[in-house]
Amino acid sequence: MKKRGKGIAATFYGTGYGNGFPDVSKAVAEVDHDGNVNIYVCATEVGQGAKTIIIQMVAEILGLGMNDIHLISEDTSQTLDTGTAAASRQTYNTGNAVKKAVEVLKSKLLEKAKEHLKLPSLLGLEVKDKVIYLKTFPKKRVCFKDLIEEKISVEETFTAQTVQMDEETGQGAPYWPYTFSCYGVEVEVDTETGIIEVIKGVCAQDVGRAINPELIEGQIDGGFSMGLGYGIMEKLNCKDGEIKNNKFSKYLIPTALDMPELEKIIVEDPESSAPFGAKGIGEPVILPAAPAILNAIYDAIGVRFYEIPVTPDKVLSEINREI
């Protein structure tokens, strides 16, 4: 018999190294004498979209297109330390460092343009497509290339704020910011085979502010999939220190047939210390998937599982025990 059930889980996640440890990102932004905009950061692109997010932020501040920005990000000899691509920290930490550097660069450019255009004030000066112009009289304009004799380079550092906890009581402020999630899932349990099919998911994810909704949705899909594997599929079968399932024919991860369609809801509530209000979501998106599935399994068959993964053999043995 196939039995259906629904479950929910809510979670939170603190960004960064935490616990008062210096969590530092450094970025360099420059405009060279040809008017090229170069950004130097060492934020690793592991597939999460770090490069795209950083370039979007720069493009927004300087009024440029995505293709106008040259990102140098893959070489320790050309970049400063931006910390690890982990702890969901690159959008928040490196994003903040880049934003600071580019904003200072922009103000230097405006100051130079004011002098070049012989204007009495910075008021009303706009930057777009590598041209600085006066909004009320656009003929007063100068392009980056004509403005800059020697390259202008700005280095900025962002350090996150956390407080080391007391060792006896754990009192302190270990992380900032926190990101929140809630997922609901529906499962169908086959009581004859023990197979659990996740048939639907609704995922509401706090993001602070979305820099790129397409990338966020991709993270939600991927996080859900990894959580699904964690809850009901993945097993290393480690016996006496030896991993028995050390290849993909034995260690099963979700395929396209295991993943349900997901309704993905991006919840925005900007965080004032974050770049454009954006919080990191790379890890938060995995957290509620497995527990929501476990709660849905209980709703379907009235059996609670205290150990994961809930593989078909475990489902069958529990059902048989109930009988």
Partner: protein, 159 residues
Amino acid sequence: MNHISLTINKKMYSIDVEEDVRLIDLLRDQLFLTGTKEGCGEGECGACTVIMDGRVVNSCLVMAFQAEGSNITTIEGMSDKDELHPIQKAFLDKGAVQCGFCTPGMVLSAKSLLDKNENPTREEIREGISGNLCRCTGYNKIVDAIELASKEIREEKKE
């Protein structure tokens, strides 16, 4: 040592291969067609998918000498110079790419599917790519992309 002749991405090759060389090794190590990826070496992950005589195969499970006389399409043969294939374009537009390591194999499985069934349901798309593992995307945007590509290709044909 074997001498084999085959066609890869519409180009003829005549080449010596050792007995124990797999098709993936020939493509990558001898011809430097590195778009074909090795993820598991046992035909489970599909990262090494190529199209051989109209069928998708895992190039890690085919010996190079078995490819004698065959016609092979790899990811490098999917686009004409800068013009992306509608499947590749849809993968970009629908956000179906993350780390990108499964992407070449995924694109080729999608092509093979759409060559046989130009208007698949989402479930048929899921089956069509079920031999290709992806750890990043959770597959949903890949399904979206293949659905979009199918529509684009059908509309192109109408015109």
